[in-house]
């Protein structure tokens, strides 16, 4: 499910992001170029991140963020993925005063919930699997990422 929604054009490995805004803009641009989101998506995702952040501390060395925004900025569902060699600061989703250094970013372009439960559960499942997080952040090719996700889906 996730493997199908993850556009290969929007898998950016070892992206030297300046900050959270940089990575959100970069991934949004990839989804825009592939026709998944509207022009307004990047700004909407950034505004949402400023008021309702999406950083998730995962208890290990690598933390993640899942920026996303309202359905009206989305044309069709997709997921973009970035791995970062150096962490950038997001804020904790439920404790926004807490900073979370993030090295794995899933940018989610979502439509109505019912159709994408499986994909969202898969993302949550990945976040709960430290080995998978480690493999994804160490991946050096898009094909490798796709293999890791396909293996995870099959398991």
């Amino acid at each position: 499910m996730l493997a199908q929604l993850l556009d290969s054009h929007a898998i950016i490995l070892n992206y030297p992001a300046k900050d959270a805004e940089d990575v959100i803009r970069h991934l949004s641009q990839k989804l825009l170029e592939s026709g998944y989101v509207k022009d307004s998506f990047a700004q909407a995702a950034l505004s949402r991140e400023a008021t309702l952040p999406t950083g998730l501390p995962l208890g290990g060395e690598i933390n993640a963020a899942i920026p996303h925004t309202d359905v009206e900025h989305v044309i069709k569902p997709a997921v973009a993925l970035a791995t970062l060699p150096k962490p950038v600061i997001f804020r904790n989703m439920v404790e926004p005063e807490e900073e979370v250094p993030v090295r794995l970013v899933f940018l989610l372009a979502l439509e109505e919930p019912k159709s994408q439960v499986a994909m969202l559960q898969e993302v949550a499942g990945i976040l709960q699997n430290p080995q998978l997080i480690q493999r994804l952040t160490s991946a050096t090719t898009v094909a490798e990422v796709q293999t890791i996700l396909a293996e995870n889906e099959a398991s």
């Binding site: 949402r48 008021t51 309702l52 999406t54 998730l56 501390p57 995962l58 208890g59 899942i66 996303h68 925004t69 309202d70 359905v71 904790n92 989703m93 439920v94 404790e95 926004p96 989610l108 979502l110 439509e111 109505e112 919930p113 994408q116 439960v117 969202l120 559960q121 993302v123 949550a124 976040l127 709960q128 699997n129």
Partner: protein, 96 residues
Amino acid sequence: MSKPKVVLVSCGTAIATSTVVAKAIEESMRERGIPVVTRQCKAAEIRSHLSGVDLIVTTTPLPDNLGVPVVKALPFLTGIGKEEVLNEIEEKLREA
């Protein structure tokens, strides 16, 4: 069969994290023998969704004094402390 408890799941957009959390609560409470129905809402609109709600589970900060118990639900996304939060939800629903 007792009336199902109503769990309101709140997140920023009402489509992403609350969807994952709502599914997880439905499944885990069923296993624990507590029938629940879940509703989803945006955190910003929570006050207009409180009618008939037994428990709020949220992935984003919420105002105080909603008059309904609130449980923070990050463990459904990160896996850390998931069992504890399930126990807390079960306990609050049994009291509700």
